[in-house]
């Protein structure tokens, strides 16, 4: 047992790792759009660069040293990711482009194989489009049904008795987000998975918004499948992870057919390679995998508990401050223990897009829009919200700066409106 000290982060030192903050044109950037994508530390960029400059080669196929070096580096990154989420083995880690491709892989490779006519796929009303549309299409292909577990628009929490009501004997899969990118809600996935398993229902967890911000242990959660994106975890673009239990991966069909994922190709029949390569057809994003490994090293070196503690302080402070601004409405849970690193809000009479432009003029980057969660917007009865979201490098001072600018925006627009 390790004892985790409640250390506070040396954010000044951490910010130095992120070249974006030093780039003169960015002029003291306050970056509050981490739920969309994070910045990348020098450590990650250098690891990518090292691959390209020193031992660039294709993986798994070469009979020379750089090919072997590249293969080892890529497979080593896989090991790091397995340890990060405490997978039983790195065979359970499939590299994909991101959370979206991971969910599509599950819907095709598992869904097309195991979902039968009239089966039900249960998702929640707070999912990202990437965890909605693949299931809409699956149920069309398989003549199955899609059902929604509702949330309470007053506090952004899933309806407490929703699971009991929703789970039926024909429910095959529950796919839900660990942390909502539009509401900030942290869902109690461990308990939910436990309840679903009692009814032999397979569970897929969309961890795109949790992996970067809190420790996630797939064995402790007992998640059957879990997905996330590297670019939200300080890693490169174009790389992400599809995790599934080994027995599920063995039972599933591969989805991308081609080089590297096969064992034997005959004219009319082929057989598949072992896990994890069975699911990785074609030359992979080698630099992306290696870069994601470096990102995992980076967060480990700081400590995920510490990052999580730091961000919780930021969320708590932001929730307090935002609620104190007249005309601001905050969505999602108000309890910071139930609230991930993204906070959604609206400001009376000022459209989020106008607010974002206004803040951008003050070098504060926030997101406005539907956050790829149109059903959430419809439920909240707004066309869009503004959203701030945090990473390891954000500070209380930045929130103060944001709040001041927000007050000024309110004043500016109320002059007219």
């Amino acid at each position: 047992m390790e004892i985790v000290e409640k250390m506070t982060l040396n954010v000044d030192r951490i910010r130095k790792d992120f070249p974006i903050f030093d780039y003169p044109d960015n002029n003291n950037l306050t970056y509050l759009d981490n739920a969309a994508t994070t910045q990348r530390p020098t450590q990650v960029l250098e690891e990518i660069s090292r691959y390209y400059r020193e031992y660039n080669a294709n993986t798994h196929r070469g009979a020379y040293r750089n090919a072997e070096k590249a293969t080892l580096a890529y497979e080593d990154a896989r090991e790091k990711i397995a340890r990060l989420i405490n997978a039983r083995s790195s065979r359970e880690i499939i590299f994909v482009r991101g959370a979206t491709e991971a969910i599509n892989t599950a819907a095709r490779g598992w869904g097309d194989r195991f979902v039968r006519p009239d089966d039900e796929i249960l998702i929640t009303e707070m999912e990202h489009h990437s965890n909605i549309v693949p299931w809409q299409m699956l149920v069309k292909r398989r003549n199955a049904r899609l059902c929604y577990w509702a949330f309470d628009e007053r506090n952004g929490m899933l309806e407490p008795d929703g699971l009991r009501i929703m789970l039926s004997s024909s429910t095959r899969l529950l796919a839900l987000t660990h942390v909502s990118n539009a509401l900030g809600t942290i869902n109690p996935v461990k308990e939910i998975i436990h309840a679903a398993h009692a009814r032999k229902i397979t569970v897929l967890v969309d961890a795109a918004q949790s992996i970067p911000h809190m420790p996630v242990d797939v064995q402790d959660l007992d998640a059957d499948m879990l997905v996330f994106s590297g670019h939200k975890l300080y890693g490169p673009t174009g790389i992400g992870v599809f995790y599934a239990k080994e027995e599920i991966l063995n039972a599933m069909d591969p989805v991308q057919f081609g080089g590297d994922m096969i064992e034997h190709v005959d004219y009319f029949e082929s057989t598949w390679n072992d896990l994890p390569w069975k699911f990785e057809g074609g030359t992979p994003n080698i630099a992306g995998g290696i870069g994601l490994g470096a990102a995992v090293d980076y967060v480990n070196q700081i400590g995920m508990e510490i990052i999580s503690g730091h961000e919780k302080q930021l969320v708590q402070y932001a929730l307090e401050k935002l609620s104190g601004v007249e005309g601001v409405r905050v969505y999602g849970p108000m309890d910071p223990d139930q609230h991930g690193s993204a906070v959604s809000f609206t400001l009376d009479r000022v459209h989020p897009h106008d607010l974002a432009t206004w803040l951008d003029q003050h070098n504060i980057a926030i997101r406005s829009g539907h956050h790829c969660a149109q059903p959430v917007m419809r439920k909240l009865g707004v066309p869009a919200t503004a959203r701030i979201s945090f990473g390891v490098y954000n500070t209380i001072q930045e929130i103060d700066r944001f709040i001041i600018a927000l007050e000024q925006a309110k004043e500016y627009f109320s002059k007219w409106l």
């Binding site: 459209h351 989020p352 897009h353 106008d354 974002a356 432009t357 206004w358 951008d360 003029q361 406005s368 829009g369 539907h370 149109q374 917007m377 066309p383 869009a384 500016y412 627009f413 007219w416 409106l417």
Partner: protein
């Protein structure tokens, strides 16, 4: 790139007091436009008078830029011929995209209030949302009239 270049008084006024807003119940045509990335939506209701727009209204919600832009659009194209409208759309779009060397104030008139958008690339889509839709509508109307031999 001061913020006031973008949010000109005229725009604020159109946002607060939109012109020609609300459904036209006897419209010949009702078209919807949507910006999938920010959720802005606009509906245009149009009554034709041969090769002219006799009346045009809009319904929608969105940011200052998209709403002021569509409000100005309705004022500006009402009563105009298809050719005149195409010309304005062309000129206006070029201004918004920052492609005009010199803005023809006579032609664009009040629409010049949106010229600041060209310096805010993230807002170009907002300003052009309704205009791009109208462009397609005009093209289709022309094709329709040509089919009937009524144009020219």
């Amino acid at each position: 790139m001061a913020i006031d270049d973008l949010y000109q008084e005229i725009l604020m006024d159109h946002y607060k007091n939109p012109r020609n807003k609300g459904k036209l119940h006897d419209a010949d045509l009702e078209v919807h436009a949507k910006n999938p990335f920010c959720g802005d939506e606009v509906e245009l209701d149009i009554i034709w008078d041969g090769g002219r727009i006799k009346d045009i209204h809009f319904v929608g919600q969105g940011c200052v830029i998209s709403q002021a832009s569509v409000s100005l659009l309705t004022e500006h194209v009402k009563g105009k011929t298809l050719e005149e409208i195409e010309e304005v759309i062309q000129e206006f779009s070029a201004m918004i995209r920052g492609e005009l060397e010199k803005i023809d104030e006579d032609k664009l008139d009040e629409l010049c209030a949106l010229q600041g958008v060209s310096k805010f690339p993230t807002r170009i889509k907002c300003a052009l949302l309704a205009w791009n839709t109208l462009k397609k509508v005009v093209q289709e109307r022309k094709a329709e009239l040509e089919g009937k031999g009524k144009v020219g």
